[in-house]
Amino acid sequence: MNHAADRKLFLADLGPITSYAKRCIRCGFCNAVCAESNISSSFRESRTSRGRMILVQSLVEDIGEIDPYSADFKKLIDLCLSCRRCVSVCPPGIPIPDLISHARYAYLKQKRWNALTLGHRIYADYGTFDRLGSATAPVSNWIMERHVVKRLMEWATHIDARTHLPPFHRQSFESWFKSRPSTPRKKKIVYFVDSYANYNYPLLAKTVVALLEHVGYEVIVPPQRESGMPSLEFGLFDKARSLARYNLGQLVGYARDGTRIVCSSLAASYLLREGYRMILDEPEASAVSEAVVDMTELLLKEYETGALHFNNQASRRVDYHCCCLSKAMSLVPVTTKLLKAAGLVVRQIDECCGGAGVWGTFKENFEISGEIAQKLREKISTDTTVLTESETCKMQIELHTDATVRFPLEVLAGRVSDLQSS
């Protein structure tokens, strides 16, 4: 069967990023770091990172008979975890996960919403669902934990019933923040909270505010919507662009005034720095990108300049899970340095947890995700606390191990001298 017309359409929707596919030299270096490529159930090459690249390359080079709109092809490109570990090892420097997201976009552009499960749609609109869940908590939490609801959810959404989504918090961070008096200060900083710290775990966002105020900042929390990582990864670029435009519109004024924008969520840091620029060739995206700083980077700088001091708590061993996005943004050495400065004995755990945002929660991926997590499980000590910056890695590690998992910021805050708790 010849799919020439389909390929032409697909490549047109793939856009300029197509040129990268031509540059793949098929060395396979991406396979070496791709967690999904290294589990035994992925013995077939088509399930590996290089395999996916070769398939996209075959479309670009017009070789073979791959139908880019077939369910089989979509299934293979959907196996990419978008972890970004491959980007730093690819000799020709191909942004492989971006290329894969574009392939998903090109697929969905023609197939429309029919190709998505209800779960994809929920995750793409997670801000709305988080708002709803928070407003109705604790009832929403009680309902979500019922086994029958989970089974029903699995049937309707493809979100695996074994997944433990984080519970909602009745009072969002946003409403808490609005209710407290602000103290004007000379140094100002904008905090992009994102949905998880706003609706699921406001304590994290409160800790961030306490730390920022401790080192002398006045914290500004402008109106914001969810950063939109699932939309970007699913290839729902229209949705992702709309979220990006809204958030950039709220932030760009501060960025242009020279006010820095701090994120405590890795996904938000990544999107504001790089992700939005990938889908929006607009000056606002570049301006905001340059103003963004991750909370760990900011704290390290404050520590190094003497504005932040850690108390003399006893040294303690922690396992630090170096999550994929953290590695991609070169934040692992930053966090490690901070943790050590706070008197912790840090053991880095490099293995991917297999969660990959919400990827591992889908029933199609759940077993594979667990197989990836197995390597991490073997590394983690049962008697230490595991630290990770990522909300979804935390969720995944808690699901697949008995470990206590905490955010580095929480642990660091507990060791900061004279920190006023919010």
Binding site: G28, I63, G64, V89
Partner: protein
């Protein structure tokens, strides 16, 4: 279908499914396409089927059948080969060894390890680390290449100047011959004078004589100390003369790596390392004890100074060593980004001829109006001239391949070889006659004797 081979039929597929199980056989378009090419920029040729055998018996069953049916067999490790070594040019059956990737035995007291062919090089060394052991050839593709592929290709890398190549470490092989017979050749003894050395025959045979299903490797202990230095030179000839003297001086570096100006520029463009943009850079490293490495490094530094090194850096700690290595390790990625389809040459010449081959490479590039960069393992005379090419520009591609051809031919005329570590594959077959002369006929005779139906990786190394 090429003359001499049978057309792959449904009954063949049924047989393979019975032999290894349905899950281990694929005729899906996606798998066929992925196995239609390796890391060499070539035409794509799809195999008829891809099979993932799980043990030697299955390999034997498949080969016996394929031999009777005259179906081509292409054994494939990671597919990272750079000369089209695993292209299924006559279609047929690709055997992928991903499911035969176990470390069977670590004989730490004998400094040996027994592995299946699909074990990845870096993974093996990671497992050997707690035993203070290492399999040292260290090819550039160490994170992905398999031991089976390394043996079939006689691969090596930056450590070859001290540690040698894969062939120096293979003690024993289990090989399935084309007729399905399983033979074991070699022993666990370090030396032997008992007849023909079949192990050395199979190493580097690129899967044209049989399928390697088990490998016993000798190992080395990890070095107690390492010392690293980088030197910059104003001319390539000064660099290569320094190399020559270091090698002749009796000190044995574990790496003596060379980067020319074009490579340095590419690395700086790509990674912003701020390497000094001189005519050439040399990285040298010594492995041994604290005392021996200190002495060797000092001797090397005085030779480098004597030959006019304009700048010298030595690593004070592991972090600095990593920084010094970053320039060398960044060479391949940087050059891979410098053109859509760079052609990576792999010639080896006697050490005294390095200046000559590098100079000739530049002249040839100028003659064919192509861009060229050179880097390599100068300690063993292995130079990688990289010609910047683009397959979509047919005229440029033609000039680039002609430039490579002239460089390789000249290297052979200097007493060198067409390939030091990438193998012949389909890419360098045309140089076999030039390099081997009448002995090529004996190679062909051996091939006909072992594989009379020529089912094993047809179209590689030479045509019959």
């Amino acid at each position: 279908m090429a003359e001499g081979f049978s057309r792959f039929e449904n009954r063949d597929l049924e047989f393979l499914r019975r032999a290894v199980g349905e899950a281990n056989v694929s005729v899906e378009e996606s798998e066929l396409l992925i196995h239609a090419i390796d890391s060499f920029p070539s035409e794509w040729v799809k195999p008829d089927v891809v099979v993932w055998p799980e043990n030697t018996e299955q390999v034997s069953t498949i080969l016996r059948y394929a031999n009777e049916r005259k179906l081509p067999i292409v054994p494939r490790g990671a597919g990272s080969s750079l000369a089209g070594n695993v292209l299924p040019v006559q279609h047929g059956i690709v055997l992928n060894f991903r499911k035969m990737s176990s470390i069977l035995k670590i004989l730490d007291r004998d400094l040996q390890v027994v592995v299946q062919p699909g074990v990845v090089y870096d993974q093996l060394n990671l497992k050997l680390q707690p035993y203070n052991l290492v399999f040292p050839p260290d090819p550039g593709s160490s994170s992905v290449c398999t031991i089976g592929g390394m043996v079939a290709n006689n691969a090596s890398g930056m450590g070859a100047v001290k540690y040698g190549v894969t062939r120096d470490y293979v003690l024993k092989l289990e090989v399935v011959l084309p007729n399905g017979q399983v033979i074991r050749s070699g022993s666990n003894a370090i030396k032997s004078s008992t007849g023909y050395d079949l192990v050395r025959l199979f190493v580097g045979s690129e899967g044209t004589l049989g399928v390697i299903t088990e490998i016993t490797l000798r190992l080395r202990t990890l070095p107690m100390a390492m010392r690293t230095a980088v030197a910059y030179f104003d001319s390539v000839s000064a660099t290569t003369e320094a190399v020559s003297e270091i090698v002749r001086s009796g000190i044995i570096p574990s790496a003596l790596e060379f980067l020319d100006r074009e490579t340095i520029l590419a690395v700086n463009r790509n990674e912003g390392l701020g390497l000094k943009e001189t005519a050439a850079m040399l990285l040298t490293e010594f492995h041994g004890t604290e005392d021996s490495t200190a002495h060797e490094l000092e001797s090397a530094l005085s030779i480098l100074r004597k030959h006019g090194a304009v700048e010298l850096h030595t690593a004070k700690d592991p972090d600095e060593r990593k920084r010094l290595w970053a320039g060398r390790k960044g060479a391949y990625p940087a050059l891979a980004r410098s053109a859509p389809n760079p052609i990576i040459g792999d010639v080896v010449v006697p050490i005294s001829k390095i200046t000559e081959i590098v100079t000739f490479a530049y002249e040839t590039a100028a003659k064919f109006e192509v861009k060229l960069a050179c880097f390599g393992h100068s300690g063993d005379g292995n130079v990688h001239p990289v010609v910047m090419a683009d397959r979509s520009d047919k005229e440029l591609w033609k000039r680039a391949t002609r430039a490579v051809e002239e460089i390789v031919t000249y290297a052979i005329s200097l007493g060198g070889v067409a390939s030091g570590e990438h193998g012949i594959g389909v890419e360098k077959k045309r140089f076999m006659q030039i390099e081997h002369g009448e002995s090529l006929e004996l190679m062909k005779s051996i091939k006909r004797l072992v594989d009379p139906n020529c089912i094993m990786n047809p179209g590689k190394i030479f045509d019959l």
